[in-house]
Point group: C2
Chain length 330, copies 2
DNA sequence: TTTAGCCTAGAGCTTATGCTCAAGCCGTTT
DNA sequence: AAACGGCTTGAGCATAAGCTCTAGGCTAAA
């Protein structure tokens, strides 16, 4: 055995075998036991090879068609909010109050949705990436693709007030899934005051990321709620006090550091000038994919959608139904 | 329950549920038991729904990437025979002599391949369809698609010598999978003599199908061998005597009723004028996808490929390896 | 009553995973 | 320098979990 590059060679061989195992299993329709015989390995190994192939994202599964109810909701929402496209992930009404399950389903649906968009993206595109559990769920379920040409730039500050790095910036997850490059902004989400805002925004490292984010032609963002159990607060990006002030100023949602009221207007409050990152309005005219996982955020969604900045929307069926019933709410 | 259209309505509801089940199972990653709970049905029913979704072809699975060996073979074959594209389905060398398994794997791979081609086909295209077990396997594994605009026309006679309809003309299978229209030729595969040939070809019904087939812009054909265990003979489309004569005239393969020698030249024998259907040469310049399932047909393949009529090729790895080693054979 | 369809239960097979063991690779010990 | 022992890695065994199919009983419509 010539093994100049022992580790790499083994890996390549393993992947090759994994590919064969996946073909036999998924396309040929053989059981793992049969695959094992055909590849002359133990059944356990066959199973692990197939598992490996899946982890590597070699296996892509698509479901064609959606439940009629979802299609109807999509059409209503797309029309009402002038969306370019809309995906409603089917979810059951039995466990309609399971927040985690909702993130799981919406994330999985959004991953499929975003996967298609990424595939159509021209070479060397830059994608602006927001924050939140929804996007994190998306990235986690995104099939691995080979797009080292892509650049992912965070559209907002990534640190908490204490300047500690956020455990898992979503940008990192996208980089890991695609092999592309990632940039984040080494500043908090919100500045303490105008002075700090000006100072931090002037930093060269921030300006660099900011320019990338501004020139992106596609954005993936979450829609943040303003309750203490919502992402923004739960990871310490904003304080109790901030939230309190924003809410009393009429804000219902957070779109990458800009705060909108139920009618989709920016609320008149100093904090709206403290967001570190691109201005939400700077996304206008670009493709903005919003992923709305999590329950109980209908009013936040209403505000965000009415801002007119979102062009593509992914959410769960239960949320979509509530949203439709609230469409005229003010 | 208002059930004006009991059967259809139940089916639609079932399908809707099946779609939900498939989403939860394949995209959400839940176990069948969990799917059952979420849809409020019994686990068995959940299982059946998921199964139904698969049978309906809602679930599309793709494997990205092929074993290095297959890629290498594809490149060699594509270059040698000037193919537009080539797919080598991975198969193992352990069960390299399992004929049925080979049809299964090649058919499944070919189905994926053809599915992509069909998706790119313009509206209202006509597809010429050949015969054989390989194509039958392809059609069987083809995901269901909704293309009522397509027309499938048999490129050759479909009856055996006794004028009995062939149990399952492949055209029928394609029609069933796509919802398109199908036309076959109500005549045998080969005429008895020149006179019969002329008479049958002159029939209006034959002319009608023939014109459709001639105007197709895509063909899917098998490559037939000339042994008694091969399709042509096994279903009674040709007699022992025919085969004997063809072989002694140097023929090694059958391409929709035309017989070629190992160098890819039409053999000089009266039977070459007796084929009922379009002339193989009439496909020249069109896209011709050949599916070569089954083992021990390397020489037949060599003849068929050398004819220059085939533009796209699907075969199994074992066959491809043998073929490569015989590429210069004469 | 009969028939068809659906559900329940349970057996048998397939798939997933924790645990164990063996082999190779250091860094340390004699 | 040779030997020892922990550490990592990969493989298989055993078992748990999950999936699929069959038979039998129940309900509802003919």
């Amino acid at each position: 055995m010539n093994s100049k590059h022992p580790k790499q060679q083994v890996d390549a061989e393993q992947l090759d075998l994994a590919t064969r195992a996946a073909w036999l299993s998924f396309i040929g329709g053989y059981t793992q036991g049969e695959v094992a015989k055909r590849l002359a390995v133990s059944p356990v190994k066959a199973h692990r090879l197939i598992q490996l192939a899946q982890q590597q994202g070699m296996v892509k599964i698509f479901i064609e068609g959606e439940p009629a109810r979802c299609v109807a909701l999509e059409e209503q929402l797309a029309k009402k909010f002038s969306l370019r496209s809309c995906l409603i992930a089917p979810s059951d009404h039995i466990n309609a109050d399971d927040n985690e399950a909702n993130f799981n389903e919406v994330g999985a649906g959004a991953a499929r949705f975003f996967y298609n968009i990424l595939n159509q993206l021209p070479q060397s595109s830059c994608v602006g990436i927001g924050k939140g559990r929804s996007l994190s769920a998306l990235a986690e379920k995104l099939p691995k693709i080979n797009r080292a040409d892509l650049t992912f730039a965070s559209v907002s500050g990534s640190f908490t007030r204490k300047f500690s790095a956020n455990r898992l910036d979503v940008v990192q997850q996208f980089v890991e899934r695609t092999g592309g490059e990632g940039y984040f902004m080494p500043v908090p989400y919100l500045a303490r005051d105008d002075e700090e805002h000006e100072m931090l925004m002037a930093q060269a490292s921030v300006q660099f990321s900011l320019n990338l984010a501004r020139n992106a032609n596609l954005y993936a963002v979450g829609i943040g709620g303003l309750k203490t159990n919502h992402y923004l607060h739960s990871v310490g990006l904003v304080t109790d006090n901030d939230l309190e002030e924003l809410r009393s100023a009429g804000a219902v949602c957070d779109l990458i550091g800009s705060f909108y009221d139920i009618m989709g207007k920016l609320v008149d409050h100093p904090l709206n000038g403290h967001g570190l990152g691109i201005n939400a309005a700077e996304m206008a005219g670009k493709r903005v994919v919003a992923v709305a996982g999590g329950l109980g955020k209908e009013l936040a969604l209403l505000g965000a959608l009415r801002s007119g900045l979102v062009t593509d929307l992914v959410m769960g069926e239960v949320t979509a139904e509530k949203l439709v019933s609230l469409m005229e709410f003010k």
